[in-house]
Symmetry: C2
């Protein structure tokens, strides 16, 4: 899957992933109204609204980008119907040829991580059958529990040719509270990054490992260091746009082959119609606004990479 990600990024000239994080407040009123008319102001209604919203977003951008990243929290908050909308979204994105990064940030002790890994990336044994479940292509994973928590995911990735992005340095303001603390003179995120490189060494695709890292766009100096520390690990970069990360800051997250990183934008794309720059589209054309914002993001990042050459 990491090979396919590399190919698609090269083909589309777009190291870009769109975060499908459909807060209900991003969903235009006409979409919400229609879903509520059918299902009431219920979890089913909310789940239908985010699914209809996603569908139009995906239809509008699927030819531009290699991958999407649905954030499980935004679905799980609507309970069982929300989780069903998550699964429907994953399947629909696959139909449209997109790679799906499940932003689930799971991570637990060994046997429990094995269950998450089976459910999200692998197959579960039910009686005599092996069944695919959520079937994302990549999942994000939390490293706090160490190797035991990661290994079951890595095992499934090897078997299924899927991949991981392990949290190394997150994009949020307080990420430094623990992640930046110095251990033998080096911040914790570097130690985690080094482990990601080690874990990834056993999981190599053609040029990159199946096991990548999450490094926030909001900490470019750290991104630069981590890029060198994990040369074969793809970096998933959240925090561009709405959270403050800028294209020129992100060039150091990439390797000289122009690969090695994929930059995420969520609300900057899916709620573009609410931004001044795209408000001309209006809420009824939120898909077109998302398309334009995606095109602009691709140009923004492509330009920065070009200038850095």
């Amino acid at each position: 899957m990491i090979n396919r990600l590399c190919e698609k990024i090269k083909e589309l000239k777009a190291p870009v992933v769109v975060g499908l994080d459909p807060m209900l407040s991003y969903v235009p009123e006409q979409v919400q109204k229609k879903s509520f008319a059918e299902y009431g102001e219920t979890l089913e209604g909310a789940a239908d609204a985010i699914w209809q919203f996603n569908k139009e977003i995906v239809d509008s951008i699927c030819d531009l980008i290699p991958a999407v990243k649905p954030q499980s929290a935004m679905y799980e908050q609507f309970g069982v119907p929300g989780v069903a909308a998550y699964k429907k979204t994953v399947d629909y994105c696959h139909e449209k040829g997109l790679i799906v990064i499940g932003d689930v940030k799971r991570g637990d002790i060994g046997s429990t991580s094995a269950a998450y890994a089976a459910g999200h990336l692998g197959k579960v044994q039910v009686g005599g059958k092996k069944l695919s479940v959520f079937d994302e292509d990549f999942a994000t994973v939390n490293p706090y529990l160490g190797t035991d928590g990661i290994k079951p995911f890595a095992d499934v990735c090897r078997e299924e040719h899927k991949g991981l992005f392990i949290l190394v340095k997150t994009s949020n303001p307080s990420s430094g509270e623990f992640q930046d603390r110095l251990i033998d003179g080096r911040p914790l995120y570097e130690w985690v990054g080094e482990k990601v490189a080690q874990w990834g060494a056993d999981c190599m695709g053609d040029s990159y490992s199946y096991i990548g890292a999450v490094v926030g766009a909001t900490y470019p100096e750290m991104g630069k260091v981590l890029r060198k520390l994990m040369p074969k690990s793809f970096i998933l970069v959240p925090g561009y746009g709405a959270q403050g990360g800028k294209a020129e800051d992100l060039v150091h997250y990439f390797n000289e082959d122009g690969l090695g990183a994929i930059v995420n934008s969520s609300r900057g794309i899916i709620a573009a119609y609410k931004k001044e720059a795209y408000e001309k589209f209006g809420p009824e054309h939120f898909g077109e606004a998302a398309r334009q914002a995606t095109l602009d993001m691709i140009v923004d990042i492509g330009g920065a990479l070009e200038r850095a050459k």
Copy 2:
């Protein structure tokens, strides 16, 4: 909710929580067969099997213990039907008067943690309505992202009188890889523990904070230190039994009031019928085996606490 947990522990003399982690391999064949006969060897079939299994376990032990801890991974691995079984389990446990600790180990950047917090502990806004979703009483949370990731959960807990258990020192063998690394001479888990105490100071119940910690039974020396570092935080202690933690090691997780800790056992209880000590019950009486194992665990821990007085 922390007050209710304290009361129930005192009333039942049982600082014990049973982990409802129904791996399909724990579910006796007769239960699986019945579910598969009705739903086929499908995710629905697996979900029904674990639900039927849970129901009998809960019926067998609900009068003995204050709380249960369903592990979300074991449900999520069976997809949407599995998540529906999780929700059914939470609701059924509530009907039976049990406190429910959702072992979800979520944690993300602020806005995303807010969605998890709303979905698991709070309410979501859908149109003009505020709806409860999974509605557990406590949730486990991962601290790697720092205060931003915790605050939205704490806010919901204050509003809803619910609670958290934040991972401090986990029970798995490799938990030390990052958690034990020294920062200014003290291990990371102590820094996290100190933060838990700080976060918890704003969320006080009568004697304990709503915001507790997870400290594995497998590291009793560390449990002793953490007990002192977080005197007002309840400690959820996984790792007793199957993972190797012993009752006499756990006395230091408690305060002098006999409270402050709640010890979890999962497979040691729910799959007791598979253990030599309880195999006389046979797979058809797995509920009774679980009941006996629960009674034995309560005696074991109660005895150790008594001897330590």
